[in-house]
Symmetry: C2
Subunit: 320 residues, 2 copies
Amino acid sequence: MSKQIEIPAVAEFLRNCEDAYILIHMNPDGDCIGSGYSLQAVLKLLGKRSKVLCADPVPERFHFLLPEEPEEEFPAKSIISVDCADESRFGDLQEQYAGRVALCVDHHISNDGFAEYAHVEPDASSACEVLYKIYRELGVKFTKQIAECLYTGIATDTGCFKFSSAGADTHRIVAEIMREFPEIRYDLINRNMFVVKSPSRLRAEMLMLSQMEYHLDGKCTIIWETKAICEENQIDPKDMEGLTSLPLQPEGVEVGITIREQDDNWYRVSLRSADSINVSEICAKFGGGGHVKAAGCRLQGTSGEVRQILLNAIAEALNA
Amino acid sequence: MSKQIEIPAVAEFLRNCEDAYILIHMNPDGDCIGSGYSLQAVLKLLGKRSKVLCADPVPERFHFLLPEEPEEEFPAKSIISVDCADESRFGDLQEQYAGRVALCVDHHISNDGFAEYAHVEPDASSACEVLYKIYRELGVKFTKQIAECLYTGIATDTGCFKFSSAGADTHRIVAEIMREFPEIRYDLINRNMFVVKSPSRLRAEMLMLSQMEYHLDGKCTIIWETKAICEENQIDPKDMEGLTSLPLQPEGVEVGITIREQDDNWYRVSLRSADSINVSEICAKFGGGGHVKAAGCRLQGTSGEVRQILLNAIAEALNA
C-alpha cells in the first residue's frame, strides 16, 4: 500500500525530485493530459526537467496543451503518475514502469495504492483540481499553458460542470483561474471539447440514436456497437468511444446500456444510471465494477442472451 | 430612457416597493423564470407580496422552481421586469404593461431603456447573476428555492458554463451558492436541462442532423425546419425550438444556419458563428440583427433563392 501524504508533503516531493517521468493513463483524456503537461510546466518553473509518458498518442484536439519545445531525452530519476487508479492504466507502459512509481496524484476512490507515496482526493472533480492545490502550495506563478491545462482537465472530467463531481471547490478554482487569465478563450476550449464532432462521429451518434432499443417501459435503453454497423457506415471504431451517455438522453430512462461487440461472442457492457439505480452493484454480479452511476462488465453469449441477462438484472434492480 | 441605477439603489427600491408584479419574457427560459421566482421569494422574505407574470406558460421542466403556495390576487402597486431587453418581450402582456414598468433588471446590452429605473449589466452571464448581487446587498438569507432558481438561471443562460459569458464572477457566484446549499442536486438540474430529451425532440435532432446540408467547403451548414418535415415525422414544432446549435457541431463549420419555414414563402433564419464571423452584420443586411455569434433575420423567396442569398453573403464574409 502507498504511504498517504498530504499536499505540503507532495509539494516537498516535487521540490526535491529530479529528471521526472510523468505517467498518464492509456487512452488519454483531458484530465490526465492537463495533469501531465501542467505538472511538466510547473516542474520546469522549479528548474527541473521532466517528460510526460503515455501508452497512446494524445488526440489532436488536446495538442494545444502541449509545450512548444521538443522533449529532451534523459533517464528517469523520479517516476510520478497522475490520474491513474492502478498500474493497468499505464497500458503498454505497465511492464516497464510497474512497481517503480514514487508518487501518485489521483482522485479515484478505487486507487489501489500501487505507488510508494500517494495523494488521493476522492471528492475532487479531477486530478487537475488536486494538482491546482498542489501548485498553489508550491507558490509558482501560473503560465497561460498551465491555466489552459487545468481548465481543460476540470471541464472535461465534469462534463463541463454538469456532473455531481463539480462542487463548490471546482467552481471556486475555475473562478480563480479565469480571474488570473481572462484572455484565455474558455468558450473555444469548450466548443472543441463538447460541441465539435467529426463527420464520422456525427454519423455514429445519429446511427446509435436511431437504432436505440427501448425496454422495461422505457426505463432502460440499449445501443449496440457492432463491427457490422461500423463497417456498413464507414465509422471509425474510435468514434464509437464515449457514446455511453447517449442512452441516458431519452426522458424517463433509468439505466442506459451500451454493448460493444468483441471477439468470440464476448461483449463489453457499459451501464449508466440516471439517478436512482446503483449500476456498480449490477455489474459486480457479472464480475465487473465501477462507480454507482457508471460501471461496466463483460458478458459472453449471443446478442439475444446478453440482452436478456442484462434486462433481467436491471428489472430486478428497478423493482427492488 | 431609463434612469440607470446601481445595486444599492435597486436594493433600496425593492425594500420600499409594495404589491409588485414581476414581468418575465414570453417563451420563458431558465434565466427569466429563475429571476422572476427568486425575486418573488426574496420579496416575500422582505415581507412583501408579489406575483410573477408571463405571456406563456412555464415549461414543465422548470416547475420545480415555482413556489408551493398559490399566488394571491391583488392589484399592482410596483411593476418590475427581469431579463427583458424591450417591451415586445412581454408578448401578449405588452399592451397591458407597456410604459408602466418602474424597475428593470437585465443583462442584455440591447436593453432599450423602456423602464423608469434600470440596472443593466451587459457583462453578466444572466439576469440571475445580476440578481444574486442585489440579493446579497439586501442581506437576505437564501432559501433552497432561491438557490435553485439562481443556479438554474445561470447554468441555462451559459449553456452549462460553456459560453464566453461564463466568467470568473459566474463561477465564483456558483461556488458560493454550492457552498451554502451542498444538498441541492445540481447534477440532476443539469441532467434535466441539458441531457434529457423527449422522444419527439430526439427524432427532431436526428432528422436535422441526417438532413444537414454542407456548403462552402464545409464551412457553412444548413438545417431546414419545414412544416412537411414536422408532419411527416410526427414532430411537435415546439421540439424544433433551440436546434440552432446543431449546425455548429460538424468540425470545420464557421457559420451554422437554421431556416424555419413560415407562411407565404417567408423564412425565419437563425445564424450561429463558431468564432470568427460576425453574423449580426450579415443579418443586418437583411433587416435583422442580434449578437456577434447569434443573429437572425427573415427572408422571402423560394427555398432555393433563400439558400443562395445566404450562401452568397456568408461566402463574402468568409473571404473578407
